[in-house]
Amino acid sequence: MDSWVQFAGSLLIVMGGMALIGIPLLKSLTLSIEGHREFKGDSMTRREKTRGWLGALVWSLAAIVIWSFFVDWLRAGNIEYAQDALAYRIEKIMESASRN
């Protein structure tokens, strides 16, 4: 490991950032779930209903990618490998997305 302090510090900053971004998303997701369960009429638009789910999905994917980066970093003990592996994965995801 090149620097444990660097690794732990980066992880803490990213965790804080993801928690902050997650606050409005979790609020929106909660309202979507409650609205889906409790509203009988058409008062929630489809956009309102799906916004919470979509936000949570994008956030979850970002969380998975971020964790794969940190596990790579931990396993290789080298941030450059983790960066290259992250770039490779993102490239593959983009390729897959453009094919579909």
Partner: protein
């Protein structure tokens, strides 16, 4: 402490005589109030019960011809009532001479306007309150406790507040519709990369009817509020009698019959588009034109019972409402930012398993590619 109840107020005051909703107790002369539990009038002083006579329910269910009512103006019975108009939310609430508070029951802001006389169409029917105020409190607490990420102490704060029992004016509309449409039907053909959509021109007619499309006659009650408290058991409508209103407040309609119908048509047209899409069929549909004819348009003017309260939490006011018939609860709800942040953090940490699995399972595939790309040797120590 003395067990003797205080002397009953006089029912012969000029205000009480003028108020058509004053029902003096036959025993002691105090006010009778409609008791949702007993479904009868109950004396506020000696607790004597007086039955509310059940009139012919057909009058409550009678449909009135919409076009002739709009064309002729006021053929339905109207009544002039003293009202207070809220400048904040637009509610027009019937003024109760016994009511000293001038807080709007809908938005909780102070009403500073003077009492004015307002002419309203007399509702033909109403759903009487079945839920008592104590039950409304309990239902609200249960609802608040079931909220995710709600702040601590939410039920203690809301318990201090009083409920207002309000009858909300509502229009219901019926109509038969026939829609001639033209459009395109899209069907997928082929598979994989050869999958293409094939469009065919279509035309046709769809017919259907709408029964009791609800439109709030109140601008202070939003569509969301009305839908969230639905369904309303309209088969249980009682013929309008002022006895049911004793002890409750009634809002005057601020949306007229025609405005209400225009709003109901927005709902109907959205449904008709769904019918047209279903009639076209296929995988995708394009509606080029849809010409809808409405016939046999009828309406009812009714009152729906709602318990409303407001509570304060961290300086913010929140409104809660309970369906006075079914007990369904809807409200504005606060969130605890601390709990949301912890929730997001827990969610993020739980993703380590998936992220770790991806790292471990794809690592061996990525490593040769990275060796080739960077030519920097083995990063893994083992």
């Amino acid at each position: 402490m003395s067990q003797t109840p205080p002397p009953p107020p006089s029912a012969d005051t000029p205000q009480a005589k003028a108020d058509k909703r004053a029902f003096p107790c036959p025993n002691c002369g105090a006010d009778l109030r409609f008791d949702p539990g007993a479904e009868a009038l109950k004396c506020t002083h000696c607790e004597a019960e007086v039955d509310v006579p059940h009139l012919d329910d057909e009058a409550a269910q009678e449909e009135h011809d919409l076009r002739s009512q709009i064309a002729s103006g006021a053929t339905l019975e109207t009544v002039e009532t003293p009202s207070l108009n809220c400048t904040t939310c637009g509610a027009s609430v019937e003024f109760d001479s016994d009511e000293h508070s001038r807080l709007c029951p809908f938005c909780d802001s102070a009403i500073v306007a003077d009492v004015t006389m307002q002419r309203n169409i007399v509702p033909q029917g109403l759903l009487p309150f079945k839920i008592q105020v104590k039950e409304a409190h309990e239902l609200m607490h249960t609802w608040l406790l079931s909220r995710w990420f709600a702040p601590d102490g939410i039920t203690e704060d809301s318990a201090k507040e009083n409920f207002n029992g309000i009858y909300v004016p509502t229009w219901t509309y019926d109509a038969y519709t026939s829609t001639a449409y033209t459009g395109k039907r899209g069907d997928y053909r082929g598979s994989g990369k050869n999958r293409r959509i094939h469009w065919t021109r279509v035309s046709g007619t769809v017919s259907g009817s709408f029964d009791d499309v609800l439109v709030s006659g109140s601008q202070s009650v939003s569509v969301e509020f009305k839908d969230a408290l639905a369904p309303w058991p309209l088969r249980d409508l009682e013929t309008y009698q002022t006895e049911f209103l004793a002890g409750f407040r009634a809002e005057n309609h601020t949306f007229g019959l025609e405005e209400g119908y225009n709003e109901s048509q927005v709902f109907m047209r959205a449904k008709i588009r769904d019918w047209v899409r279903a009639d076209i069929g296929g995988s995708k549909q394009i509606i080029s034109s849809a010409d809808t004819g409405f016939s046999k348009e009828t309406f009812k003017h009714i009152l729906l019972p709602v318990w409303i309260t407001h509570y304060t939490l961290e300086g913010e006011r929140y409104r809660m409402s309970v369906n006075g018939q079914t007990g369904k609860v809807y409200g504005q709800r606060p969130f605890s930012k601390k709990k949301l942040a912890v929730g997001a953090l827990v969610g993020f940490i739980s993703m380590v398993v998936v992220g770790g699995l991806i790292s471990v399972s794809t690592g061996p595939n990525i490593t040769p590619y990275l060796y080739q790309a960077s030519d920097e040797g083995d990063w893994f120590k083992d």
